[in-house]
């Protein structure tokens, strides 16, 4: 028994070391900008850089639009599949997994071919069109996470009975989705939203190939040309992602407790 515990702790310690040592090394390196002493100079440089603010702002905005698009597509779709088309679930689950197996570069080249300035749908002919295409692409990349988060949320409530209870009380579809379904899966939707945010903030391939001023290409650019700033940026990006994950945990405490009992 004791020997089992020892090995368990050893594996845990190795895993933690594998995870934390590079992180600590990166933090340590990012603080070495000033010779002979530790400082936050690299962070000051990064945060004071106009390009950081512009690209980060652009990516945040893109993330917000991606989340809105994702919610508008995924929530009604997942709800309808649970309510009326459960036989389609395996097919839809497969489709939502495709972005994990099809590289982003393939998707973006497809977009360029399909929506180039000479195509019938010339998204890429204008900046607005390209931005819209980037948001659509991001929504595709985030689909596996958003769909799974929402579907898991829907699984915790009795979708069919709650829908019928609202219907018989006179509610239409809009009221049912906004006042009954969405509030009960809100935490799941927020989980999906934060995962989407984390994906969009660090995404490089799509933004780079569509030539958009996003945070991902900026990170890559800084990484190629500077010494300490990329380490500081990596830590900042890491903190943002962890912040998102922590928010999911905090918000999940406020989830409505289901009072439904299975038949």
């Amino acid at each position: 028994m004791k020997s089992g515990k020892f090995w368990a702790w050893l594996v845990f310690a190795l895993g933690a070391a594998y995870f934390f040592i590079p992180l600590i090394a990166t933090v340590e390196f990012s603080m070495r900008m000033r010779r002979g002493e530790y400082s936050f100079d690299a962070y000051k440089v990064v945060l004071g850089d106009a390009r950081f603010q512009a690209t980060f702002g652009y990516s945040v905005l893109a993330a917000v639009f991606t989340i809105i698009l994702g919610v508008l597509i995924v929530v009604p779709a997942a709800y309808w599949i649970r309510l009326r088309l459960p036989q389609l679930r395996p097919i839809v689950e497969f489709i939502t997994l495709l972005p994990l197996v099809i590289p982003a570069i393939v998707i973006v080249f497809g977009y360029i071919r399909m929506y180039g300035s000479n195509s019938p749908l010339p998204f890429l002919a204008t900046d607005t069109g390209t931005n819209a295409l980037l948001v659509i692409g991001y929504a595709t990349l985030a689909l596996p996470y958003m769909y799974r988060a929402v579907d898991t949320g829907l699984r915790t409530i009795d979708v069919r009975t709650l829908t019928e209870a609202a219907q018989i009380l006179g509610a239409g579809w809009g009221t049912i989705i906004t006042r009954v379904i969405l509030p009960n899966v809100l935490i799941a939707v927020l989980s999906g939203a934060f995962l989407t945010f984390a994906i969009v903030i660090g995404e490089f391939t799509m933004a780079s190939l569509l030539n958009r001023p996003a945070f991902g290409p900026y990170l890559q650019n800084i990484g190629a040309n500077r010494a300490y700033e990329p380490a500081a940026l990596a830590i900042i990006a890491f903190a943002i992602t962890w912040g998102c994950m922590s928010l999911i945990q905090i918000l999940s405490r406020f989830a409505p407790k289901s009072a439904n009992r299975p038949n």
Partner: protein
Amino acid sequence: MADPFLSIQHVRKSFGATTVVEDFNLDVERGEFVSFLGPSGCGKTTVLRMVAGFEEPSAGTIVVSGKDITRLKPNQRNVGMVFQAYALFPNLTVAQNIGFGLKVAGMPRADIDARVTEMLGIIKLPQMADRYPYQLSGGQQQRIALARAIAPKPKLLLLDEPLSALDAKVRVSLREEIRSIQKKLGITTIFVTHDQEEALSISDRIAVMYGGKAEQVGTPFEIYNRPATKFVANFVGTLNVLEGTVTDAAAGTVRVNSEQVSLKGKLNGSKSGDTLSLALRPEAISLGRQPGRDSSLSGEISEVHFLGSVIRVRVGIGGNTVSLDTFNSPATPPPAVGEKAEISFSSSDMLVLH
């Protein structure tokens, strides 16, 4: 005669090749409490769901108060419904749950508050307004679901096995409460259950369903005492079934075991020599010869179960076994297994199952 309040005419429902409801007909008067009673899969919930609008009939019409609602959507029917699984909205408080239908209907806030308070008073939970469903017991949740269903003053109240998920004690008290509220408000109610005691105790009429059809519609007294079919007789209450042979069709005599029983007027169409299934309720049978009982059969006691106030006795009569209950008397010891016994009954209580 005035038109019925709810009229279900020739309703049929098929899912693909499977027909779950066949030519279902029922008229319900205003303020009546009608139960659909039947085993699982008999189509009772499907009929209820068609009345609610959740299923569309494959054929037939459903008319409420003179208006054909067969093709109307559930939210256009002004029908209230209570579900087996409560179906309270977990994100809303009790008051918000009860006021949901009123808010959807666009009622002013002050009127909603007044109606919610009134409803909480009716269901005797006035202090629960700010609680969430997860903070309530099953019985309390179902009362809130009832209040929510009747708050918008629906024309019709549908109860889909609302007591099934509750424990026995709560089930009895809540069913009495449901009936009392229903009588007080005079709301026409359809109650679906597979529990015969529930149906018998609170209904004005019962529709016993089997294989997608109404086998018999009648008052609890009629259903229990004059079952129209073998299924109804078997499904409602406990029944002792004895095999008998018609000895003289004209005189109405039947031989059970080796004894003659007179069933004059009940043999409609049977010929001498025919084998019949005869049924007796346990409460129609007495142990030993009793005054006023014109028939008797002899046998041997095979089982005795002491249940406190009642002693359940099983008597073997030829190839049949008859179950009967006698009241416990401290002065008289219960009969012993293996004793010879005579049972007596009135032939008028004997049912011929067709």
